[in-house]
């Protein structure tokens, strides 16, 4: 009974943490490369969720098989959301790259409000709903009195997250693009002198971050089935916390932070009190930052312009 309950909460926490982790990667990559916190990232995630929802509704009118619908929606959401991310970078951050440090940060807060209001104006202020796309799942440990259930959707979310994590970690560590990104992180002027297009590298970072956020958006809309123009705020705050906890600038750190935040929230709710779960998550953040000021996997010697 107790083990089953623990297992169930573990499944809940890992699923939630995966979604946080995917969003956190976007924060961490942008911070790594230009040393700026992209506060509009939570809203990019929200835009991704809306695009996925629209795509699901359109595909529901056709008779395409489910796996293909999932794949197409994933692609559509990634491509369109990446366009948003790219545009935001071009409009709001690139012109400010040479200006003082706070300017792009304020610009990011502004973009966050712009995106929220844009979606509110375009899609209406009411919530949008989606009926379950994938139903059913496994149940086990039935004889203990507490049946643990693991839905296909949860498996899908966890697998897709692990897959994307692996792909993007390889991309950063093993490809020319990743090398260029890491070079930009260390010294932008020097990288430019070496013949690398810094602007392009930064744009690509935003595109990657946004498409990962859109995947998180798609998972969110499939798993919870209810979205509105405001979901980016709360999810953004949680994911940002996750990124800081794991060590901002580090991709495995973002994933680790996401999982930790998800697990802390769920286990605190499950064993202590649901009312104060956010306090628990943020207290852990404070305690961790006291002992590891750069987060668990952050590089201690980051020096940014």
């Amino acid at each position: 009974m107790d083990l089953a309950y623990f297992l169930q909460q573990l499944i809940n926490g890992v699923t939630l943490g995966s979604v946080y982790g995917l969003i956190a990667i976007g924060y961490t990559m942008v911070y790594g490369i230009i040393g700026m916190i992209n506060f509009a990232h939570g809203d990019i995630f929200m835009v991704g969720a809306f695009i996925a929802l629209i795509s699901f509704i359109l595909f529901a009118l056709t008779s395409i098989a489910l796996p293909i619908v999932l794949l197409l929606t994933l692609l559509i959401a990634m491509v369109f959301t990446a366009c948003y991310g790219w545009t935001v970078e071009k409009l709001a951050y690139k012109p400010l790259r040479k200006s003082f440090r706070l300017a792009p940060l304020i610009s990011a807060l502004g973009m966050s409000i712009v995106l929220q209001n844009y979606v509110q104006a375009a899609q209406g202020a009411r919530i949008k709903t989606l009926q379950p796309v994938i139903q059913g799942g496994f149940t086990f440990l039935e004889d203990t009195g507490f049946t643990v259930s693991l839905s296909y959707l949860q498996i899908f979310i966890i697998l897709v997250t692990i897959f994307l994590m692996a792909v993007f970690t390889l991309l950063i560590t093993r490809t020319a693009l990743g090398r260029a990104q890491r070079a930009c992180e260390q010294d932008r002027t020097m990288t430019a002198l070496m013949g690398i297009n810094v602007d392009r590298t930064i744009s690509i970072t935003f595109i990657i971050g946004s498409s990962l956020a859109s995947v998180a958006g798609m998972m969110f809309v499939m798993y919870y089935g209810v979205i509105d123009f405001y979901i980016g705020f709360l999810a953004g705050i949680k994911a940002f916390t996750a990124a800081v906890l794991g060590g901002i600038g580090s991709i495995p750190g973002a994933m680790l932070g996401g999982l930790l935040i998800g697990l802390i929230e769920v286990f605190w709710s499950g064993y202590i009190s649901i009312e104060y779960k956010d306090i628990a998550a943020f207290t852990v953040l404070v305690v961790v930052l006291i002992f590891y000021p750069t987060g668990f996997l952050g590089k201690p010697d980051i020096e940014k312009v």
């Binding site: 009974m1 309950y5 169930q8 909460q9 809940n12 926490g13 699923t15 939630l16 509110q120 209406g124 202020a125 009411r126 919530i127 709903t129 009926q131 379950p132 799942g137 149940t139 507490f146 049946t147 259930s149 839905s151 969110f220 919870y224 089935g225 209810v226 509105d228 405001y230 979901i231 709360l234 929230e265 769920v266 286990f267 709710s269 499950g270 009190s273 649901i274 009312e275 779960k277 956010d278």
Partner: protein, 367 residues
């Protein structure tokens, strides 16, 4: 440069002045509620009712020969924004407010209305404190949560006697008030709750709560909260293979609840006043709403009735003066779509209390 700025400023100022002067020439009434945010479907209900009333009243030539103007306020069910909306109404010369929706908004806004002498009639705020602690200008045309909790508590104590009931709420004025009222009455009926938990409104993930309910073997969950949270909780309960019944209050009376739950919402119970759509006097109006493409569900007719009270009170007083209208409201009887009603000393309405409804196949039906 400075001069141009000054000129522009004075032009802007005069435009604003002109705006407020033209606004003051008519009778201004207001409808306020969550027009945006996750409870926007209720804001839309209040707005639909108010707009229909406006059309009908102005078609009849207004009130006492004066044309009526309607302003809409969006409080997003946020207490701070509700106070801002109330102050804005005061600036716009509003006489009468039919709002707000959430108790958490209505209560702080009522302080502003009392100071400004604006009459406030809420179509939907059920928290007892709203009229208990409100000024003499505060009324409601809906029931109270202590009545609602009595009905729900007695029902739970009888139907689930010896079984496990969990009571949860969303920490809002409405949600906590209703949950506590129900808990009190259920305990009085001899049933002690197995779990009592609070969560944060606006969250999407309730999987931890649901697992906790499951491990405690809960038979019924009583929710003090709104349809978005209720819908998600019921959906996530079914996802984890639970068949537990959800029982809640009047904040589930919107078709949006079913949009969230789909078939998972089958069998959900809620308390609400007897459906005004079934009143024979309301039949022509219901038809008119349907012709306009609006289903007069939930609080649509309540919003309409709250404004009808103003129209009739002003006619009975023979004046649009706030004090005279207020006096007429205190002692008059009003013939509304909800039936004939009057107000008691506190401002509560003399209408029948609460009954149970069951959600089935996308509609709610009285039990």
């Amino acid at each position: 440069m400075f001069k141009i700025m000054k000129n522009i400023l004075s032009i802007i100022a005069s435009i604003f002045l002109l705006g407020s002067i033209t606004a003051k020439a008519d009778v201004v009434v207001a409808s306020a509620g969550p027009m945006s945010g996750q409870y926007a479907s209720f804001g839309a209900q209040l707005k639909a009712g108010a707009e229909m009333w406006l059309k009908d009243t102005n078609a009849k030539g207004g009130i006492l020969g004066e044309k009526v103007k309607l302003v809409i306020g969006d409080d997003a069910c946020d207490p701070k924004q509700a106070v801002a909306v109330a102050n804005k109404f005061a600036g716009q010369g509003v006489t009468y407010v039919a709002g707000h929706f959430c108790s958490g908004s209505s209560i702080p806004a009522s302080k502003v209305y009392t100071e400004e002498g604006i009459i406030q009639v809420s179509p939907a705020s059920t928290n007892p404190a709203f009229t208990d602690k409100g000024g003499p200008n505060v009324f409601r045309v809906c029931g109270r949560d202590d009545q609602q909790g009595e009905v729900a508590g007695a029902f739970l104590a009888k139907e689930y006697s010896g079984k496990k009931v969990a009571i949860i709420h969303d920490k809002t004025a409405y949600g906590k008030g209703l949950a506590d009222a129900t808990k009190k009455n259920m305990n009085k009926g001899g049933l002690k709750e197995t779990m009592y938990e609070a969560f944060t409104a606006g969250e999407k993930d309730y999987s931890a709560l649901v697992s906790k309910l499951k491990s405690n073997g809960i038979d019924a969950v009583y929710l003090g909260g709104y349809h978005t949270e209720g819908g998600l909780i019921v959906r996530q309960m079914r996802d984890q293979g639970m068949k537990t019944k959800l029982i809640s209050g009047d904040a589930l009376v919107t078709a949006e609840y079913w949009q969230i739950t789909g078939d998972a919402g089958e069998g959900t119970l809620m308390t609400f006043s007897p459906d005004p759509r079934n009143n024979p006097e309301a039949a022509p109006l219901v038809k008119k709403f349907k012709a306009a493409g609006i289903e007069p569900e939930g609080y649509v007719l309540y919003s309409y009735a709250a404004l009808q009270v103003f129209e009739q009170a002003a006619t009975q007083a023979g004046s649009l003066d706030r004090k005279k209208v207020l006096k007429a409201m205190k002692k008059g009887k009003f013939n509304t779509v909800l039936g004939t009603l009057s107000f008691d000393k506190k401002g509560d309405v003399s209408l029948p209390g609460y009954v149970f409804y069951e959600w089935s196949k996308g509609n709610y039906k009285q039990l």
